[in-house]
Symmetry: C2
Subunit: 501 residues, 2 copies
C-alpha cells in the first residue's frame, strides 16, 4: 500500500507543479504582462491545463485510487483524506473531455483580455460574443458533469461541493427577508452617517505603506508571500510558502485599498497556514470557496470594520494622512467606513447591501444557463435587477455588467460563495468568541495572534482534508450553513450605527 501511495503522491506532485506553474502564469497575466503577451499566454495556459488534465485523468490514477480505497487509514489522516478528496476530483475530471478542457482554458484566458478592454472602453458589445461562448462552454461542462435538480448545481459543485442551488436559494431567501427591510430602514436614516471623510484624495504610495501595517499585523508573512497591484484584486498561491495578494489603489477611494488588502490578506492567511505536511500536495489550500470567503470577510469586516480595530489603527492612519484625518473624530471615521447605502459596484458595497449584488448575479447566471436570458439581453437584465434590488441604474457597462472579472475567466456558479462566506464568517466567529471572549479587547491593542491561531487550529491547517459541511460540523456542531449568527451580527451592528429602533 505504501508503494502505491508513494506512486500516487509522486504523480499528484507533478500535476500540482503544473497547476502551480499555470497559477504563476495567471498571476503574471493580471499583474505585469504587457498587452502583446495575451495571445501566447492563452496558448501556454491551454497547454498546461491540457497536460495536467491528461495526467490526472490517466487510468493509472483511477487504478491506484481503487487499490488505495482498500487501505485502512484513519478518516482524519492525511492519507485517507488524500484518497477521499482525490477520488472526488478524479471522478469529476474524468467527466470532462480533454478537448473541452483545452478550449475552456484558451477561451477563458482570451476572455479576460477581451473583458479588460471592453471594461476600459465601457462597451459590453465587445465582450458579448466571447461571453456567449463562455456561457456555452459552461453549459457543456455542466452537462458533462451531470446534475439531478438544476444545471446550476453542476457548476456550483466546482466551488462549493456541499451545496445545491436550492440550498443557496433557501438561505438567500432567509437573508432577503431580513436584509431588504433593513436596507429600507437604513435608507430612512441616511442622515445619521456621513462618509465625507472618505471623499478626499489620498496619495497611493501612502495608502500602500499604511496597508502593510495591518496586513503584517494580522499575520501575513511577507517572506512567504507578497502584494502587487492589479485591476481586480485576488489571492493566488504557488505553495503554502508563496502566497500572493493583489490590491487596487484609487486616489479617491481609500476604503477600496484599506479593506481590499485585509480581504485578500484573509484569503492569504488560509493559504499560508495549511499544515506543513500538506505542502506541495493537492490537500494544501482551502476546502471550498465559501469557507475561503469566510476568512477574507472575517478579516475585512468582522475585524477590519470593527470599532476596536480602529481604536488601535486610527491614530496611525492619522499619522499617515494628517491633512485628511488629523481633525476627524474616530467615531466619525468608524461610521463612515460602515456607511450603508445602495451602490453600483459589488466590491465597494457595504456589508448590508453587498448580498443584494450576489442575489442579482445568482439569478442572472441561472437565467443564462437555462437559456431563459440571452447574452445580448444581459446588460438590460442587469440594469433592471439593479433598479429592483438597489434602486440604481448603472451609467455605463463598466459600472454595470462588466464590473466583475469572473465571467470573463469562465467562472459561473461562483458568485453565491461570496454570500455563503459572509454567513460562514459569523457562524465560525460566534464559536471563536465562545472560546476567546476577549478578542475585541485584543484587537484594540493591535493583537490578532490569538484569532489567527484559533482559525489556524480549527480551519486553516486542515487544508482541503474536510468538506465545508464537515468543517462546520466539527467547528460549530451545526449540521450545515446557518444564517442566524450573520443576521444577528448585521442587525445588531447596523441598528446601533443607524440608531434604529
Amino acid at each position: 500500500m505504501q508503494a502505491k501511495l508513494d506512486t500516487l503522491n509522486s504523480k499528484l506532485k507533478d500535476i500540482q507543479n503544473i497547476n502551480h506553474a499555470a497559477a504563476v502564469l495567471g498571476w503574471d497575466q493580471q499583474t505585469y504582462m504587457p498587452p502583446g503577451g495575451a495571445a501566447a499566454r492563452a496558448e501556454q495556459l491551454s497547454t498546461l491545463s491540457k497536460i495536467s488534465h491528461e495526467m490526472f485523468t490517466a487510468a493509472e490514477i483511477g487504478e491506484l485510487l481503487a487499490d488505495l480505497a482498500q487501505a485502512e487509514f484513519d478518516y482524519d489522516s492525511d492519507e485517507a483524506s488524500l484518497i477521499r478528496v482525490i477520488q472526488r476530483d478524479y471522478d469529476k475530471a474524468r467527466k470532462l473531455p480533454p478537448k473541452l478542457v483545452e478550449e475552456m482554458s484558451r477561451t477563458f484566458s482570451m476572455g479576460q483580455q477581451v473583458w479588460t478592454k471592453a471594461r476600459a472602453e465601457k462597451d459590453f458589445s465587445q465582450f458579448q460574443d466571447i461571453l456567449a461562448k463562455i456561457v456555452d462552454l459552461n453549459i457543456q461542462v455542466a452537462e458533462a458533469y451531470g446534475y439531478e435538480e438544476s444545471i446550476y448545481d453542476a457548476l456550483l459543485d466546482q466551488y462549493e461541493p456541499d451545496m445545491k442551488a436550492s440550498d443557496v436559494q433557501q438561505v438567500f431567501d432567509e437573508l432577503k427577508a431580513e436584509l431588504v427591510p433593513l436596507v429600507q430602514a437604513i435608507a430612512e436614516h441616511q442622515e445619521v452617517v456621513d462618509d465625507f471623510v472618505l471623499q478626499q484624495e489620498f496619495d497611493e504610495q501612502t495608502q500602500w505603506d499604511f496597508g502593510l501595517l495591518p496586513l503584517q499585523a494580522i499575520g501575513f508573512d511577507m517572506q512567504r508571500g507578497r502584494q502587487d497591484k492589479s485591476a481586480h484584486p485576488f489571492t493566488t498561491s504557488f505553495s503554502t510558502n508563496d502566497v500572493r495578494i493583489t490590491t487596487r489603489f484609487h486616489r479617491e477611494m481609500i476604503a477600496s485599498a484599506l479593506f481590499g488588502t485585509l480581504h485578500e490578506g484573509g484569503h492569504a492567511l488560509y493559504e499560508q497556514n495549511s499544515d506543513p505536511t500538506l505542502e506541495g500536495t493537492p490537500l494544501a489550500g482551502g476546502t471550498s470557496l465559501g469557507v475561503h470567503e469566510s476568512q477574507s470577510r472575517l478579516w475585512e469586516n468582522v475585524v477590519g470594520r470593527s470599532r476596536e480595530f480602529w481604536q488601535f489603527y486610527y491614530p496611525k492612519l492619522q499619522e499617515f494622512f494628517p491633512k485628511q484625518f488629523g481633525a476627524v473624530d474616530r467615531e466619525v471615521f468608524y461610521r463612515a467606513i460602515n456607511k450603508s447605502k445602495p451602490s453600483l459596484i459589488r466590491v465597494e458595497a457595504d456589508e448590508v447591501t453587498y448580498n443584494l449584488h450576489i442575489f442579482l448575479r445568482f439569478e442572472l447566471e441561472q437565467a443564462l444557463l437555462t437559456n431563459s436570458l440571452k447574452v445580448a439581453d444581459l446588460p438590460e437584465a442587469w440594469n433592471a435587477k439593479m433598479e429592483s434590488y438597489l434602486g440604481l441604474t448603472p451609467p455605463d457597462d463598466a459600472k454595470g455588467v462588466l464590473q466583475d472579472i469572473h465571467w470573463s475567466g469562465g467562472m459561473m456558479g461562483y458568485f453565491p460563495t461570496y454570500t455563503l462566506g459572509n454567513i460562514l464568517s459569523l457562524q465560525f466567529y460566534s464559536q471563536t468568541l465562545k472560546d476567546l471572549p476577549d478578542l475585541p479587547e485584543q484587537f484594540a491593542k493591535g493583537e490578532f495572534g490569538a484569532l489567527l491561531e484559533w482559525f489556524r487550529e480549527h480551519i486553516h491547517r486542515h487544508g482541503r482534508k474536510f468538506t465545508a459541511n464537515e468543517l462546520i460540523q466539527r467547528v460549530t456542531g451545526d449540521d450545515g450553513i446557518k444564517a442566524g449568527p450573520y443576521l444577528n451580527y448585521i442587525k445588531r451592528k447596523y441598528s446601533e450605527i443607524y440608531e434604529l429602533a
Copy 2:
C-alpha cells in the same frame, strides 16, 4: 508530408508552451518571488523541464523528423529550417537521460537561491557544495553529449553550436596579443580620462525614467515587453510579443543602469523582431548566444558609448540630472563613460578590459571540468588570475568568484559567448556601415530606425533558422568569426580617447 508537418508543429507548440511557462517561472524567480517560494519553485521548474524533455525526446518526434527529412523544401524555407534545427536539438536531447534533466533543473534552481544568499553574505563556502554538484552535473551532461577534442566542446555546443574550445582559444589568443599591450598603454595614460562625473549620487527613479527614453528610441516595444528590476540583469521572452528585460539600479553607479538597459534592450530587439511567421515555434529567438550578444553589445557599446549617441542624449540627461551634469562638458562625460581601467566586476568593465574577465572564466571552467582544479580551490584560483590579468585582488568573494549568476544556474561553457559577441558586433556592424555610411549622423539626431531595420532584415527576422556561421557567411561573406573589425574598432577608439601614439 503536410499532415506530418502539422503533427510535428502541434507537438512542438505544446513543448514550446511548456518551455515558455518555465521561462515565466524563471523570470518571476529573479524579479518578484518571495524567499519562501524557492523550494517549491525548484520543484515546479523540475517538473516542467522533465515533461518538456519527455515530450520532445519521444520516439514519435524522431519518426516524424525522419519522414520529413525526405521532403523537398527549399533550404531557406521555414519548413526546411525547422526540420534541420529540430533534428539537431532532438539528437542532443535524446542523449540526456530524463533523470539527469530533472536533477539538473532542481539543482540549478536551488543553486540560484544558495548563490543569492552566499553572494549577499560574501561567503563562497555556502555555495561550494552545490557548485561542486553543478560542476559534476555539467561533466555528466558533457559525457552524455559526447565530444571529440575536449570536454568543454560538449558544453560550449549548447550555446555556440558552430564553435569548439580550440576555435575559442585561437580567437582569444589573437585578442590577447593586442589587448594586453593596449591595456598596458592605457595604464600609462590613465591621467587623460577622469570619470569623477560618474562618481556621484543619482536618484534611482530618475535613472529609470531617463533609461526609458533611449530604450524606446532604439525600438524596444513596450506593448510587447516590459522592464523590471533584478539583482542580475537579463532578457527573457515568452513570445516574440512578450519580451522582458531587467535592469539593476545603484544610486552610486549610473553607468550600470544606463548601459545595462541598452545591453538588455539589444537582446530584446533580437527577440522582438523574429519574423511573425516564427511566433510560437522553436525557430523564434536567437540562433546562438554569440550572435545574441553581438546585438546587446552593439547597442550598449558601439551605439550607446559613441560620441554621436550622446550628442543627442546628453542634453536630455542633463535635464534629468541638472545638479550632477549641468556644468559638465559633453566630452568629459563621453570620456568618463569610456574610461578604461582594470576593475573587479565583469558587467561593469569597460570595452577593453572586459574580455580579460572572459579569458579568466574560460580558463577556470576548463580547469574545473577536467578536474585539474577543485571547487574548494576556486576562490584562490580566481583571485590569482585576477591578479595576473588585471593586477587586482578582490576584497571579498562577492566581488570575486561569486559575482556572476551563471554557474549557480548550471551554465558552464557560456562565458566565451560574451567575447564572441563583442567580436561579432563589429564584424556585422562594419558591414552595416558599408550599406549605411551615415548611421553615426543618424544617431546624433536620435534616429536608430535604419540600424534596427538593417539588423532586422539581415539577422533578427531569421530567428534560429540559420547557424551563427551561416549568418556570418550570408551577412559578411566571411567563413567564420574574424577578430579584425573588433580589434580595429577598439584600437582606433581608445587610441583617440587616450591620445596614444
